[in-house]
């Protein structure tokens, strides 16, 4: 106790000195003050956000927004503490997969009464479904990031393969065959010099689950009682089986790629070691920045099957804290950020795809340059990631799915063993969250 007393005394003394605390929500003359936690990352996006906040503050003297920069790396812990401490920002930038716990925990406001019709109509229903739980809407989905194939133009053209388009995509079988064609031992030393594809599987769960939609899979379904269940049948296992085959049998994908993040695969891509990379849409920024002079690259849609170019996404979202005293004003600001031209600015700044139908028509995202047009072309096939709204997903992912998928792709597990772990062990975890 002796040691705690000086600390407490110091705290008290400093509290007297500090004399400053959180700014009030409303000033004496009735001015509303809102705090906006933004996770904009690229310099252009941060500037666009700050510029829009400035414009809003000039146009709306009665509602002043304060821009607070956060970071993706730590936002969950930061928000959780702020919610529990009753000090959360009014307007919160996050992503849909993070909203599940916060919405169920009662920390976010249902935006339904405040959303203007223009905004509701402009964003497709599929996107709204990513932030809707129990008939409430807990965030505005505004930026999304599909998975695309970033490919080495020279290698692709040299192999004579047909380039896919959103209208005529490759099937997964085409993709497997083309990967074989692109895999080469140039100097004949028995070692592969160029692999058809590199699967960056450091975080294997999101892409394994989201790509299952491209073969009609779901992974997470609801039973008759409305409870989440895990399913892993042929439709769900088709793409993971292909990846496993490419690494362990066809040898058209390097084994060491499995332990890499997307960024880690880029040097090999630039060096001609990998012909194609399945990566998130925003990786184009890194490719543009780091590619050697004269390096030709292109952005292609991921393969699809009978269901078309469908894949799951978890969009970035803008939500309002339940404790905010000015929810209407906060949603008005969110609607302002999501005017089509503003959403385009935010999307292009972070190299992401806007959700707004109007924004998707903007010339800035309809250029062939840097593959923007490919993103727009596949936007219609984007669906809510199956993981959204599943309570217990984070635990399933960390404890079961991540190690299971990693072992599976490495060839240490068979499909049946993977199924047992994902489904039987996984459902036990989900059951704990759904009692």
């Amino acid at each position: 106790m002796r040691t705690l007393l000086p600390g407490a005394a110091t705290t008290l003394a400093l509290s007297l000195l500090a004399g400053c605390g959180a700014a009030p929500d409303t000033t004496a003359d009735g001015e509303i003050r809102l705090e906006f936690l933004s996770l904009a990352w690229q310099k252009e996006s941060v500037e666009a956000n700050k510029r829009l906040v400035r414009q809003w503050n000039e146009d709306h003297p009665g509602v002043q927004v304060r821009y607070v920069q956060g970071s993706w790396d730590s936002v969950h812990d930061q928000l959780l503490t702020s919610f529990l401490g009753g000090e959360a920002p009014d307007i919160i930038h996050d992503d849909a997969s993070d909203l599940t716990d916060f919405a169920h925990g009662g920390y976010l406001a249902d935006l339904t009464p405040y959303l203007p019709k223009r905004l509701r109509d402009d964003i497709p229903q599929e996107s709204w479904e990513t932030t809707s739980y129990d008939e409430g809407v807990y965030g505005v989905p505004f930026l999304q990031e599909p998975r695309v194939l970033i490919a080495n133009t020279k290698l692709l053209k040299g192999s004579g393969v047909r380039l896919p388009t959103a209208q005529r995509p490759w099937t997964w079988q085409d993709f497997e065959d083309i990967s074989k064609k692109l895999t080469r031992d140039v100097d004949g030393d028995g070692r592969t010099d160029t692999y058809g594809v590199a699967w960056a599987m450091k975080e294997p769960v999101a892409q394994s689950v989201n790509l299952a939609l491209s073969t009609g899979g779901k992974v997470f379904t609801k039973d008759g009682d409305g409870k989440n269940r895990i399913r892993y049948d042929t439709a769900e296992s088709s793409v993971p089986e292909l990846v496993r085959r490419q690494v362990n049998e066809d040898r058209t994908a390097p084994r060491n790629g499995l332990g890499m993040s997307g960024s880690d695969t880029l040097p090999g891509f630039f060096g001609g070691r990998y012909a194609m990379l399945p990566l998130n849409f925003s990786y184009r920024q890194q490719v543009r920045q780091q590619a050697p002079e004269g390096f030709g690259w292109t952005v292609l849609p991921m393969p699809g099957d009978s269901t078309g170019l469908t894949q799951g996404v978890a969009p970035q979202t803008l939500s309002v804290s339940r404790d905010s005293a000015h929810k209407k004003a906060a949603v008005d600001f969110i609607a302002y950020l999501n005017q089509a031209d503003h959403q385009v600015e935010l999307a292009t700044g972070d190299w992401l795809l806007p959700t707004s139908r109007e924004a998707l028509k903007d010339p800035a995202v309809n250029t062939r340059r840097y593959g923007w047009r490919t993103g727009v072309d596949i936007a219609a096939g984007l669906r809510p990631s199956p993981v959204l709204g599943v309570l217990g997903f984070a635990e399933w992912k960390d404890k079961i799915a991540t190690p299971a998928y990693q072992e599976y792709y490495n060839g240490a597990l068979g499909t049946d063993e993977l199924r047992t772990r994902l489904v039987a062990d996984g459902n036990r975890i989900l059951d704990r969250y759904q009692r």
Binding site: M1, R2, T3, L4, P6, G7, A8, T10, T11, L12, L14, S15, L17, A18, G19, C20, G21, A22, E35, L39, W41, Q42, K43, V46, Y67, V68, Q69, S71, W72, D73, S74, D77, Q78, T81, S82, L84, G85, G86, E87, P89, D95, K202, E203, S261, G262, S263, L266, P267, G268, F270, G271, R273, N280, S282, Y283, Q286, Q289, Q290, A291, P292
Partner: protein, 317 residues
């Protein structure tokens, strides 16, 4: 420098006329008998060289990440994306430093970190010195219980204390305040500082204090004029520990500070990380290099005080 010849007394088997069989107890002694001064010198030289080699390896092990960071901070984005990384930048430039300064308020955050780390380390040491002295010199049940409690408090993880701490600071209106963060760091560092200093206090012979008392010095005078100067290495070590801990701390700073003008360096550094571990590597390396400088300067200024042997000869054995 003269090299002493191997002592005969070291060899219990010197009297044996012939070398014992391999593995016999006298083998070592017989070998020692054969060592000439030249051989001993060579062995010592080899031993010294081995020590230096091991030290060099250790230094490389410690220094390599820093040097790699430094090298990375001067590389272009294209070079960072190259398949065959070079030890030294092929086209060194300051673009990453410019980009880092453009993107984030590095100077402001460094200043905040400096204020927080200096204040937290000075206050925690100031508070810890008398407490450590009392704990070390006055052994009682309360003292022992306090020591155990201090040790136990070190096992509390951040997540256990952060919510109650947040609420306490909120009531004190110390959220989003540099002073609040300093208070947290002082309290957080105090237990370990106390333990560190307690060890140093115990090493000061009580007879020195008794001698001062005989000369008429009171308790405070003894503490200030006799004990404190002898604690200098301990104070410096504790200061360094507190400074580095406060400088590097991330989670409390992240959660407790909101205003951009208050944020510390460790929080600002994470701004160079995007979603799913994507990093703006060049500017991140540049900002990280800048973040290491104050710690190095602080250490360079204080390390001369980290001397041993201050108590040698203070009292008769």
């Amino acid at each position: 420098m003269s090299v002493p010849s191997p002592s005969r007394s070291r060899s219990p088997s010197l009297s044996a006329p012939t070398p014992p069989a391999p593995g016999a107890p006298g083998m070592k002694g017989a070998r020692a008998m054969k060592r000439t001064p030249a051989k001993v010198r060579a062995l010592r030289l080899a031993g010294g060289a081995g020590q230096y080699l091991a030290l060099a390896c250790y230094l490389i092990f410690l220094g390599f990440p820093l040097l790699w960071l430094l090298s990375t901070s001067f590389k272009t984005a294209r070079e960072l994306g190259s398949l065959d990384p070079a030890w030294l930048p092929r086209h060194p430039g300051l673009d990453n430093y410019r980009a880092a300064f453009d993107a984030q308020p590095l100077l402001r955050s460094a200043l905040n970190s400096l204020v927080v780390a200096c204040a937290a380390s000075l206050i925690s040491v100031t508070v810890a010195v008398p407490a450590a002295y009392a704990l070390a010199r006055h052994r009682s049940l309360v003292g022992r219980a306090s020591s155990v409690w201090i040790l136990v408090s070190q096992t509390f993880p951040f997540v256990l204390v952060i919510i109650p701490l947040f609420l306490v600071l909120k009531n004190l209106r110390l959220i989003d305040s540099i002073a609040g963060l300093i208070a947290v760091y002082v309290v957080w560092n105090l237990p370990f500082s106390l333990w560190m200093l307690q060890g140093y206090v115990k090493a000061v012979p009580p007879s020195l204090e008794e001698a001062a008392a005989i000369d008429g010095a009171g308790r405070v005078r003894t503490l200030v004029s006799v004990v404190l100067p002898l604690l200098a290495p301990g104070l410096v070590a504790t200061l360094m520990f507190s400074f580095v801990t406060a400088w590097n701390e991330f989670f409390f700073a992240l959660v407790l500070l909101k205003s951009p003008e208050n944020q510390t360096m460790s929080v600002i550094l994470t701004r160079f990380l995007g979603a799913e571990g994507v990093a703006d590597l060049g500017p991140l390396a540049a900002a990280s290099v800048l973040a290491t400088i104050p710690g190095l300067v602080f250490f360079a200024l204080l390390q001369r005080r980290l001397v041993g042997g201050m108590l040698a000869g203070a009292v008769k054995a």
